[in-house]
Symmetry: C2
């Protein structure tokens, strides 16, 4: 059985079902999709959570094709608004970012090139085995940034890239964590750039549609509104107790973020290393804000809806309009420390500040949307942050090996466990496939080779052992 009807859990269940296993999914919320969630606001669909995919993401693309969920390109032509030090400018896609300091643009480019260089030394899926892992997991990305960017502009732009990509501040994430993602996605260009490969397309009907269709295929075997409280391992299986149902099964896939793993009770208790993992991957912080207008008025001004700024609440925005709808949607992200601060204000104050921010970027018309909606993922009890768990310094060295490691009949899925594209829908799908095949291998004794498992880490490579503990320093 499966805990969690997000994309990872549902894909695991689908795969188990396709292999002939009886499967049931138990979900805490009253909907499927986890951190993908499509709502209607001002008469049009808007994406409250994950929404983008790219061409270098095979599993999620294959799933969409199988389910008949179509995609459309994200790109909106036009100039980007750039807001630095209280001053607004615009630039074309083929122009340099108009930093106030002349050195900033080249510093940003050189910094990303330096990251790419280091990432070449990081084995994808097992970053803790890199030769310089201790050095890189000993520091925050902030420390690295301060060494590699001198100008104010370059520093804020790197901040913005980290905030946009991880919904955290550079101080919150291990340098090794970033290098690991750069390595696994083929270079910083695919991760950090604005119209990057990871954001190339969106789903017709919204990203949640993938989960909705997989759940339909499971024909009633998804139990909603039933938080799982306790997982007991018995001599021949597991007992999973949730508010609405208790279920015995041969094995369980727990497909929730690491921090939420730790909030389930286990019998016997999780080993210290596994529980410690759940303590050291806090969720990013994001409030995703949408304003719906009668038309995408910024397009008439030659603007793409993209803004980049050094001032909150929304330091980054995009045009999130759905093709074929008249209404235009502007989406702003409140990220990292901004999200923590603005999350404490009233909804009215926050909305007013977001719209004023949009007006700074796109003019007064932005103050009068026909609809407004937001999602503070940190306030969602069954997510407790977004986009994903963030590896703090030391996480990979001490706990990385345990991300995928089953504990008896308890297996782990969720985008954070993915060796490639972790934090993305791609990682979620890949992790669900891997976990399902692990379970099938156990249940049937079929002995699926590790080569069959997407993103499966070969733990013989570099699982740390006590006997090998070196000296200090």
């Amino acid at each position: 059985m499966v805990v969690g009807a997000g994309l990872a859990g549902l894909v695991a269940a689908r795969e188990l079902g396709a292999a002939g296993a009886e499967v049931i999914v138990v979900e805490a919320q009253d909907r499927v999709g986890g951190r993908t969630w499509t709502r209607r606001v001002g008469g049009v669909p808007v994406e409250m959570g994950g929404q983008w995919i790219g061409p270098a993401q095979p599993y999620v693309n294959a799933l969409a094709r199988e389910l008949g969920v179509e995609t459309f390109p994200t790109e909106v032509p036009g100039r980007t608004v750039f807001y630095e030090g209280g001053s607004r400018s615009e630039y074309e896609e083929d122009e340099a970012v108009p930093f106030r300091e002349p050195d900033a643009a080249s510093e940003v480019r050189e910094a990303f090139e330096a990251l790419d260089g280091l990432a070449k030394e990081v084995p994808a899926g097992a970053p803790w085995t890199a030769g310089r892992a201790a050095e890189w997991d000993g520091q925050t990305l902030e420390t690295w940034k301060l060494r590699h960017a001198r100008s104010r502009g370059a520093r804020f732009y790197i901040d913005l890239a980290v905030q946009s990509l991880y919904a955290c501040e550079p101080r919150d994430i291990s340098l090794l964590g970033v290098l690991s993602d750069v390595a696994a996605s083929g270079g910083s260009g695919g991760l950090f750039e604005i119209e990057a490969s990871a954001e190339e397309s969106r789903f017709v009907g919204g990203a949640q549609e993938l989960s909705v269709r997989v759940a339909e295929g499971l024909e009633g075997r998804v139990v909603l509104s039933s938080p799982v409280r306790r997982i007991s391992q018995e001599h021949d299986g597991v007992l999973v107790e949730s508010d609405a149902v208790s279920i015995r099964a041969g094995a369980v896939v727990v497909a929730v973020p690491p921090v939420l793993r730790g909030r389930i009770e286990y019998e016997p208790a999780l080993p210290a290393a596994q529980d410690g993992l759940s303590q050291r991957m806090p969720m990013g912080a994001v409030i995703k804000c949408h304003a719906v207008y009668d038309v995408p008025f910024w397009r008439g001004m030659g603007l793409s809806g993209r803004a980049e700024g050094d001032t909150g609440p929304c330091r980054v925005t995009c045009d999130n309009t759905t093709p074929g709808e008249d209404a235009g949607v502007l989406t702003g992200f409140i990220l990292g420390a901004d999200a923590r601060l603005w999350g404490q204000e009233s909804a009215d104050e926050r909305e007013a500040a977001v719209l004023e921010c949009f007006a700074r970027y796109f003019g007064e018309e932005a103050l009068h949307p026909r609809g407004y909606a937001e999602c503070d993922w940190g306030a969602e009890v069954h997510a407790r942050g977004g986009y994903a768990g963030v590896p703090v310094p030391g996480f990979f060295l001490d706990h990385g090996f345990a991300l995928q490691e089953p504990v008896g009949r308890v297996h782990w899925a969720g985008t954070e466990t993915a060796s490639e594209w972790n934090g993305y829908m791609e990682g979620a799908v890949g992790s669900g496939l891997r976990a399902a095949r692990e379970v099938l291998s156990v249940l049937t004794g079929a002995g699926f080779g590790q080569g069959d498992l997407p993103g499966k880490v070969d733990r013989s490579r570099g699982r740390p052992r006590a006997g090998a503990t070196g000296t200090g320093g």
Copy 2:
């Protein structure tokens, strides 16, 4: 009422009871004392958890006097064993540490002096208001160490100090977190030095005796073996649901480590900032190991039982013998990354490695104790690590203000919430007093001034506000 019968929770209950409030304490474990726990091993008492106090710790000393729990000095005369790079040496208390590199000792001294200098700029109890808070909370202590110590010896010795003090690696803790503790305890000497003020004395009968006596004074109002699962706020009080009892009360003091706060369900759910706090203070990792011998044989060799080394499993040991008992007790600490690795080995392998380590320090006689016991605090389900929660980079900037901040009728205690001596018994006692007086102030409207509350943070000083979010960089 109070959740958690550790020192903080029991002190809060005692204070509430003394003020005439009806009070009940609900505890998950089958004993009181939390992270203090005295067991008998080989016929003598040994301390599985916290055990030391110092003269600069007023609240715990006053409590001990009131309860009639006596103390005795920790110090054992004799030479310290020093083990570096596979080579064993000894040194007297008034000699320099015999590092292999000539510069190491002065580098260590200069590094601690530099920490003391920075700490003078950190307001005790509100480190996030320091002028350079963003710089210091943006980096790990590891980053700082690599800049301030060049020699291998100095680096391992700083590692050892951090491991000994926090049960974590320098990469696991924010520089600002360390500076905050140095500031609150009057300088690094009181924290880091070997026979430091914070370790000057021990309790006759063991540190748990404080909790046992406070619990006796509560006359049956402590419910054991009843984990709290859910706290609901109602319009005129709280409902606390635990396995054995459900209790309505006017207010509740939750006196558990931050990570365990997050594992209770709240209705309404905790605000994102409060839940985020529980995600960003992972527990340190420690396995405390005791070997009991017929006599403290190392004393006859002129040794104090203290060892310091760069090789696991126990990089630091001490003589933990109880005066008046014939038997000698050697205690070794497996700390930080060592604890995570050794925690995954079998108990037999671990015991053998610990005794071999003791034998390297104190000779072959150490291989044959008459009793052996250990506690892996990470495996204790109702502690999930030790000694305490460790602030990761960014913790204080984003969440520090929320450590003591009540959420409606839910108040917080526990050593991690203390403004002074957090992580120590002193911090636990102080936090319990503060939380009790907060509750009394609410329940009676008596308006206790903030000046009455030990370690109470004046949140008007520097609580971050969304409107004040600055620019990037």
